[in-house]
Each structure stands twice: as structure tokens, then as C-alpha cells.
Amino acid sequence: MKDIISKEQLFNHPIQKVWDAITHQEQISTWFIPATFKAEKGFQYTFNASGGDCSPIRGEVLEATPYTLIYSWIVTENPMKTIVKWVLEEVDGGTKLYLEHSGISNYHGETAIDMFLSFNAGWDSCLAGLTNYLKNIVHAG
């Protein structure tokens, strides 16, 4: 077992379009989480998960040069920092996205356990709420 989550996904869309979707505030806010975001190194961003007692995610943009985007990821109520990395690659017929979320091993003992407990308690419902929110938007549009 490792402490890195990695995902690879192909999109049948040009690389610039995918890049815009993951770096532009309005677009992030539409498909991901309502955001205050600028793809500039050093920018302190916020993702505001919608719904009841969901804690926002904040962090700092560590790198934002086409086509690599890296930011720290901190769930506000637990000062635990993990790292999210997006890398895009132009491939035949579209774009390959490589996503990596890492860093849980930086955390120790009880803090880590607190974090897991809070995930279990709050985050699942936040995500459910968010998914519904996005569905509604799609249907309304």
C-alpha cells in the first residue's frame, strides 16, 4: 500500500480546453467546487464545498505552468496538508490527464486519526450535496 492516489484519464478534448477547465476560477466552480482561484504560483485559493457543515478547502498554488498544476490541499478544520498535482499531456485525439494526490504520510498519530474521523463524518455528505448541486445546474441549463 502507498500513500499516493493517482488517476489517469483521457479526454477527447484539446489540451488547452482541459487546462482552462482546471485552472480558471469560473470553470473550476462549475464542475469541481465553487472556488476562489488563480493559476499563479503563490496564490492562496479556497474551495468552498457547498452544504451544511462542510469545511472549505484551502491551499497555495505551488506550480502553474502549462501543463502542470500543483497545489497544497488543506481541509480547513484539520490543518493537514496534502498535495494535489495535475499534469496534462497532448495525445493522439485528445488529452491525457494524470492526477496525483499525496502526502498523508506527513501526518502523525492522533491528528491523522482525527482527520480520518472527520472525513467519515462530514465529507461524504458534502460530496453528495455537491453532486446534486451540479446535477441541478446541468438540468437547469
Binding site: K7, F32, S105, G109, L127
Partner: protein, 107 residues
Amino acid sequence: MQDNITKILKAISDPTRRELFHALVIAATALPITQVSAQFNITRQGITKHLKTLENAGLITITTSGRERFCKAEAQPLQEVKNWLHFYEKFWDTKLDQLGDFLDQKE
């Protein structure tokens, strides 16, 4: 606390220790250290050192019975790491699906 994430991850970052741990998980019972080391092509000392690391991480327990020492897998600490991974695995799968839908709709 014994079962902290760093220790656990460090313990399972080594391929030999992963194999050792895996062998014990599969055995699902306490095994004599002599029997465990017979399965691995490294020195008895090497095995003992690896088992100690696993023990420190709370991943195995070592008990002495008579002249033999037994080791047994304790999978519970892994649950912590698993919870985190499981949560974000699901999270990112959902999100990347949403990204795909978003891109498809945006022409």
C-alpha cells in the same frame, strides 16, 4: 501512539516487509519466526530486523512461547491509511467524471 501513519507507511514501503506482512496476513494465524524466515531468501537477522519494524508500526505482534517466537499480523492500523485512500479514490473518480461531462458539454 504506536499506530501512527508515518510508521505504518515506512514499514510497508519496503518490498520485503510487504511480503512478510502479506505472508502473515494470508496465514491468518501466529506463525513461528523460523517458519517465516524459511520462506524468505534472507538471513534470520534480516528477517528479525524487518519484523521488528513491522512490530513497531503495530502491524504485527511478536510473542514468545517456549523456545519459539511467533508473529501474527494485525491489520487494524492499515485501516487508517485505507480510509484516507478510499475517501479520495472515490472523490477523484467522481470529480474526473464530472470534468469529463463538463468538457463534453462545453463546445
